[in-house]
């Protein structure tokens, strides 16, 4: 079974600064996708960024980028130029590319607070 671990329950960053959220996962498979989701107080989960395991290049979406280390099974999220609107819960998630285990597995989340 696949597991996802987020070891930072809470983090805080000042506006305009950079913060990195950690995520590690465990799988014996080679082909999978990784995601970061943001959950603001509105409760709706919003996809922030995704990474295909077969791609060595780290994904980037505007101020959000990842550091994907496949051998280490690590998938951290970097938020640059943090904004107040980035305050939310952030969840790391994993899914295999094929097979019957076709559901997303989530970590327990990191609560990020952006302060003035």
């Amino acid at each position: 079974a696949q597991t996802v671990t987020q070891s930072q329950p809470e983090m805080s960053v000042q506006e305009a600064e950079t913060v990195t959220l950690s995520c590690t996962y465990d799988t014996s498979e080679n082909n999978y996708y990784l995601f970061w989701y943001k959950q603001p107080p509105s409760r709706q989960m919003i996809l922030v960024i995704r990474q295909e395991a077969y791609k060595q290049q780290n994904a980037t979406e505007n101020r959000f980028s990842v550091n994907f280390q496949k051998a280490a099974k690590s998938f951290s999220l970097k938020i640059s130029d943090s904004q107040l609107g980035d305050t939310a819960m952030y969840f790391c998630a994993f899914i295999l590319t094929s097979g019957t285990a076709s559901k997303l597995t989530f970590g327990t989340g990191t609560r990020l607070q952006v302060t003035l």
Binding site: Q44, I95, S98, S102, K103, F106
Partner: protein
């Protein structure tokens, strides 16, 4: 619709009553998922529907929980004889068959059992 719609947004029920939670997925999305998020916790998988295949019910915590998806579209999650530990946010998501795109989530139903 444009997004995944869930109703009701909030539900307060008395212990022992049955509740029904509704999810209307994005049109054309063949897969539909239910997750439960307890206070301060991550997302716990409940059930997964894919097209006409038999649903994956492996995450349902007890036989008080059931779900159906009619016509490959709207889904209803039913909790019978609710208990206080059922209090949580119930999130529905839908996706295309290809997993690379992740899921699109609704805003959830907050269930409170008193």
């Amino acid at each position: 619709g444009a997004g995944v719609s869930q109703s009701p947004s909030n539900k307060v029920t008395e212990k022992g009553k049955d509740v029904e939670l509704r999810c209307d997925p994005i049109s054309g999305h063949t897969a539909l998922y239910w997750y439960r998020q307890s206070l301060g916790q991550g997302l716990e998988f409940l059930i997964y529907f894919q097209g006409n295949s038999a649903p994956d019910k492996s995450g349902l915590p007890s036989d008080r929980f059931s779900a159906e998806r009619t016509g490959g579209s709207v889904s209803t999650l039913t909790i019978q004889r609710t208990q206080q530990e059922d209090s949580a946010v119930y999130l529905c998501a839908s996706s295309l068959a290809r997993r690379a795109y992740g899921y699109t989530f609704g805003s959830g139903t907050r269930l409170t059992v008193v």
